[in-house]
């Protein structure tokens, strides 16, 4: 079983301005403000990947070992999922190219 990937939900609107991310569930809102490391986590999710990959990206971004940021990132991601802004989904398996 592959780990689920994190995706920005299809019914999420978001804007990044000067390092802050404003994200809102559609169509009713309200907007959430993700500043600092919250914005870094959001942008890492937008790049796609599993939670582990997102943790690695954030760790690199803030210059800390992955083990140190893992708990905070995991908790923050759970909050985003609860708010409906992010979804976990198993990424479709792309078949390897045939070499016949």
């Amino acid at each position: 079983m592959t780990d689920p990937h994190l995706f920005v939900a299809s019914r999420t609107a978001w804007v990044e301005r000067e390092g802050t991310v404003y994200a809102a569930p559609l169509p009713d809102g309200p907007p959430f403000v993700l500043a600092g490391s919250g914005a870094a986590i959001w942008l890492a999710i937008d790049h796609g990947g599993t939670l582990e990959e997102v943790i690695g990206r954030v760790a690199e971004d803030v210059g800390s070992p992955a083990e140190l940021v893992a708990a905070d990132v995991t908790s923050f991601v759970a909050g985003l999922v609860d708010a409906g802004l992010v979804v976990r989904r198993v990424a479709p398996v792309v078949p390897a190219p045939s070499h016949d």
Binding site: V8, R11, T12, A13, W14, V15, R17, Y22, A24, L26, P27, D28, G29, P30, P31, F32, V33, L34, A35, G38, F76, G79, L80, A83
Partner: protein, 286 residues
């Protein structure tokens, strides 16, 4: 993660465009996003912070869109009939998104709104607003929309800044294409008002309303122009009837509370008396 109400206005407006698009999609209604962040880069050479969302809705979908908006917390602040001389837009407010103008037709393109929308829709483009694809008029059509808006927007101290980028600085070929689009959408007179050629249409009933905007005038001038511009006895009777009606929204704004029946009646009498005084004053000056 912080949920706040203090989101910068330009960000809130962009998010609101996305919210309206999703509701329009759900309702199966076509909308075109205009003004603000929907404007093609380069068509505005000045910084202007939009304060609301503007969309033109396909006329056949107006009711469906308004119902979808109401079901999701949008409250009507001003009805279509109360908004302007053109009866063109309803103004709504949402706690999360702020202000929205729903245009059931665009001032200047109001002779055949369904055809005008079809024409704009046929050549539409798409822009991502808050990561949601939103339909927009193609750039030349956006120029026409901005020009028609400039025609009815007073700009102290000279020409409206949208005139330069969307008309004066355009190539002759572009201006010809804008004229052709204006002709196809019934906006020839309105475009003339925007570009300083309204005098060529003096005496044309359609020019009457635009003359009030270009040359200035009071409410009596505006109603008189609307009466002259109305096509057919039914439309003229409607203008006459509505000119005597009290706008409950504006009365509520003035009073600070929803008006009672008595307050509406008093305002009706005051309005009629003011109209008669204005007419008598003009007759007396002749």
């Amino acid at each position: 993660m912080t949920e706040v109400v203090d989101v910068p206005l330009p960000v809130r407006v962009e998010l609101a465009h996305a919210a309206v698009q999703v509701l329009a999609d759900e309702a199966g209604v076509d909308v075109l996003h205009i003004k603000g962040p929907a404007v093609h880069p380069g068509l505005r050479n000045y910084v202007r912070t939009g304060t609301d969302v503007d969309v033109i809705v396909r006329p056949s979908g107006v009711q469906a869109l308004m119902a979808a908006l109401a079901a999701h917390g949008w409250r009507v602040e001003t009805t279509f009939e109360a908004g302007s001389a053109f009866d063109h837009a309803a103004n709504l407010f949402h706690d999360s998104w702020g202000l929205l103008d729903v245009h059931r037709h665009y001032p200047g393109m109001d002779r055949d709104p369904a055809h005008a929308f079809d024409r704009l829709w046929a050549d539409r483009g798409s822009v991502e607003l808050a990561h949601v694809p939103c339909a927009v008029p193609e750039p030349l059509a956006q120029s026409l929309v901005l020009l028609l808006h400039a025609a009815r927007t007073a700009h102290p101290g000279g020409d409206h800044p949208d005139l330069a980028t969307n008309w004066a600085d355009r190539t002759p070929q572009d201006r010809e294409r804008i004229r052709a689009l204006a002709a196809d959408t019934g906006a020839t007179v309105a475009l003339a008002a925007a570009t300083g050629h309204l005098d060529e249409y003096h005496g044309d009933p359609e020019a009457a309303v635009w003359e009030v905007f270009v040359h200035g005038g009071d409410r009596l001038d505006e109603w008189s122009a609307r009466f002259r511009a109305a096509r057919g006895p039914g439309a003229k009777a409607s203008v006459l009837w509505r000119s005597l009606q009290v706008n409950r929204y504006y009365l509520a704004q003035k009073l600070g509370h929803a008006p009672s029946r008595t307050e509406v009646a008093v305002e009706s009498v005051r309005r009629l008396a003011a109209g008669l005084r204005a007419v008598a004053g003009r007759v007396g000056r002749r």
